[in-house]
Subunit: 247 residues, 6 copies
């Protein structure tokens, strides 16, 4: 395969088709089915009054996230973590990343003593599940915050959201920096990076890993450029989704 | 409310709209999104060569099932069993019920030393999740068996499926026997029964529980009549789904 | 073996010798050693003031049960669930069944905010352990309720027990419906059913499973007839045990 | 109470009534219901061919033990360790003590590659459960070894048992050394000791603990004297039990 | 090797070099790195106001201990108990022993409603880890008590410590009683005993185990003599350490 | 405090005193006590022949790491993960980071089918425990590899190490980028980044998190510059330590 020619015909700097379907669940205060190509993640936002014990009386809210994969989201069936009786390191790591990313755009004071839990369950995986989860969870969170405002859980005029947040993966394959890796690309990448940005183009998280050879500063710079551009596109998709009437 | 008038306008002997969407996942050998009204369950069937240790060398296959609910499938968010570190009694009970129900229509010898695992994950719950799971899982199992035949895991001319299986709930509400209870009905039912039938109208499982007062033989008989009729309808929906080309 | 001739010489509709020994433990408020032939279950009822958190302030009591097997209650030693660190699905399922069965004859209001825990530990198993447990646990519960009345935990004239409850297994072996299966019979049964009845002959639980071929309505009816008759006999044994002075 | 006058009228150097009922279970290769007064422990010995992995090929056998209490063996109901999902320190400690004590009279070579597991389940507790367990488990072990000899698992003329073993508790209450403490005595003891002896009067385990003030060498000596005499009596009871035909 | 000649040249009644380094950690209220030859244990004492729930309102304090080994403290790497998800029986047993030993020299009333937790983490093991832990933990506890006095958590003039406590192992190797066994000696010992004494020479714990043949009273007496002498030496080391200014 | 003036008098671009003490443990194949100021981590490297099952027959080795904190390594005592029965997300995340970082400088083929486990136990924490762990673990790994070469586990002339690796934290405090944060600085940092570099100045891992406001590209660039310089200094310390004779 020629360098830069991708298995699905994309150019190196091209996202997969991204869709965000709001109102997917009738129970949750916010719910989104997000797709990055064949990666599909169901993100639900659950609002409850009150906060964890360590935060009581602070007047401030809390946002947290839990990520999981259905057993057959992947090509080979994985054991359920509930059956194994313990959560794996990868699951923990991603849940924490999603929570931190969303908290970056939350004004705890404005949220008041309410908690929002984001559940991101991967229904089908094809690379980039954590970045799709963050991108979708933001929209579910926005809907949940609107719900809280409508139901007077949040004070009038309080704006718990200080901005938007999205995430995308980038990586170097055969020496070419590429955006939004599919599973087969991810496996082949020498360097793999997940970049979480706010809607105004600043960084919330940068997590780069040399899977093969260590990477140079110029490579890091090229990846960051790609990721910032990709996140700008994702921000537009999020904005469009939120502009539409909720289904 | 008048006895026999249901919140969604159904008659006592009427099913909710039932849909079976095949080929929902690109990875699994069989996959179905089944809906009984607002209850939605993703059923995937995973085929692997080989059988659990205790069955090795028998020449016989194995079929098992795991049931779970997404945390916000219900009106109030539930803790993840993976986070709690143990599977609850209800989950265990339903997983075992689904597994037994599907094994009732499997010829182990014809299946050969292959294992099929049915994962039934409830995406949205509104009563009858276990019966929807069984009804959908059968279709996923049928697709998985076809896949195994096409891929020569099963011997030519072997017919691992000996019939079809479906399930429906019935219950007595305000003295009236009713078919296919929604969550709000289930909560109010004095007696609650889940009935699993084969396509030819015989019983695989009958599980009746007096939630309020104990029930009489005549009530039991009326419930069984309703359930047999409901399962006959479900069998037709399954047959129609399997007759269509796989999406 | 001729159809209908049983390994221990019983007729198909005959119970094994059933004994109920009250006052087996000096500590528990109610305690019974129940035997169905070689199946022996120690049932203790523990009364405590107060109820679980979710029930506080309701003025209503609670009854729950835990079932377990000693490791060498069976022919082959089983691992302890405490050593494995998790309770198996079968244990969960039976504990829940026993709890539901006993709650069917409890008037929560009359019990007041007290909790009764029934521990059913199988000392020796030979089939029918769950049905023996329910039958014995009812007697232990009755003694515990009397104790609560004597100790003024329950209001004067309040009658927490609304009736009695017992259980028996039935099954079809070589086409013949039989009552109260021993382990060797249970293994061979094509259909296996556990039926829990109140003392006045109504149903609390009906759990029938096709172990081999699915079963027809006529078979189901024959099994229910047998079970109702068997439970009537068990009710008489319970009544006689409770009529005797407590040892 | 006068020093030396015990709640049940015993003298300081007197055992409670001790009974050993062999053949209590129809499944186990050895089984004993042992009573030290109101303390009742069911001890079963399970023989299996083969040894744990780390011992394979050594030509030597293995003996191990597991101790547990039924939830309502005590005055107040305790949580099940299976429900809590972990075994407590006390349970571990006692299981290990019982195992070591029995292994002290086993010739591993003579036992051959066979494993005996002793399950000691406390049905009713009134102090001294671990010493009753050891005393009863020895008799169950002796029956299990005989069974293994009869079934040719052990070589002809091989004598896996090198002696007998028993155990008793001693303690100092109000300055008076006493034998075989009941629960109420155990709670009041300043010093508490469990002593495991072989039938020929030597020591296998000595575990003394100052519950109140530290104890002097003279006190330690007095306790050891009492314990040696008590164990000699227990050895006679064991011998008598084993001399009788198995029930 | 001649009986009585030890691998490291010690005489049978000689301790290994024992060092106690106070103030090892900047965070803990008391901290000690104790060495018995190559055995090195880090003991930290953590003081917190308040007591466990079951002790609240009693006016009395609490002291408890937790023992653990780093995975490569031993010659072969052991699995972490946190990774296995459960604490082993040996760890439980030793933690309990250390806690009991330290509580023997605590006046709960004088301590007031404060809790001291002793963490004893074995950094390098060469036999006698539990006895080194007790000996070092006492010094950490003494420093923690001083800290509590300085910070007015303990009432003026209250003396929570009623004495000192230390521990040493003894054993019989090739028929010779020896003091303070190294790992290689411990493995070869026929009898192994851990003896915990107060500074005034009385016993807190005596735990003797026949690893090989049962032991006679004369052997027990010889071991106790050795242990009492060894503990007297350890008390002197502790006293010297506490007399020095805290590093 | 003036911006850029640090609590311990360092300049923003200055490391804390770093020491690397080799040969700290007599058992491990490589062992290092590494200090970054008051942060002290014991790193041991354990070599075993063979690899995990999924790697058998590949001819390639494996390197993995486990990170943990002693309970009182921090200012407030934390619960042991072994006692809680599960490993927290932070522990998992750091263990995985250390493992990946070390594997970046390993040639699996040259290592052959051997496994090296790095245990990094934090004895005292004052910020930067994961970066100290990586920096120290590399030296322990280098010693373990030398050991494996000396003991012929690795083929003559094979060079399993392809380079060196070290790590350092950087962060922005009051708008000033700073190197190697202490705990108090870490808590105040708006942005926090851990950077793992090879000895030749390329990147292995870059993990940056906005703790407060999102950060701009210029800030990210300044932090990377600082980190690269800091890692170059750490590489010199590592080289000097390895040049010295092993203690």
């Amino acid at each position: 395969m020629n360098a830069g020619v991708r298995i699905d015909g994309r150019t190196p700097e091209q996202l997969r088709p991204v869709t965000i379907e709001r109102g997917w669940s009738k129970h949750a205060e916010g719910s989104v089915l997000v797709s990055f190509g064949d990666t599909r993640v169901l993100c639900t936002a659950s609002v409850t009054e009150g906060v964890p014990r360590w935060r009581k009386g602070s007047g401030e809210g809390w946002v947290t996230a839990e990520y999981a994969m259905l057993p057959r989201a992947t090509n080979t069936r994985g054991d359920r973590e509930s059956v194994r009786g313990r959560i794996g390191g990868r699951t923990h790591e991603i849940s924490r990343l999603i929570g931190r990313s969303l908290r970056a755009v939350i004004d705890y004071k404005a949220l008041g003593e309410n908690t929002v839990v984001l559940d991101c369950d991967v229904l089908q995986a094809d690379g980039g599940t954590r970045t799709a989860a963050i991108t979708g969870a933001y929209v579910a969170l926005a809907d949940a915050v609107s719900w809280a405002q409508e139901h007077k859980l949040v004070k009038a005029k309080a704006q718990p959201l200080t901005g938007s947040v999205s995430a995308v993966s980038v990586g170097i394959i055969d020496g070419v920096p590429m955006l939004d890796l599919r599973y087969e690309e991810d496996v082949r990448a020498e360097t793999d990076m997940n970049v979480v940005c706010t809607g105004d183009g600043r960084f919330v998280e940068v997590q780069g890993t040399a899977e093969g050879a260590p990477f140079a500063r110029t490579e890091l710079d090229a990846l960051l450029d790609l990721a910032v551009a990709g996140n700008a596109e994702l921000e537009a998709v999020q904005r469009a989704a939120l502009a539409a009437a909720r289904s």
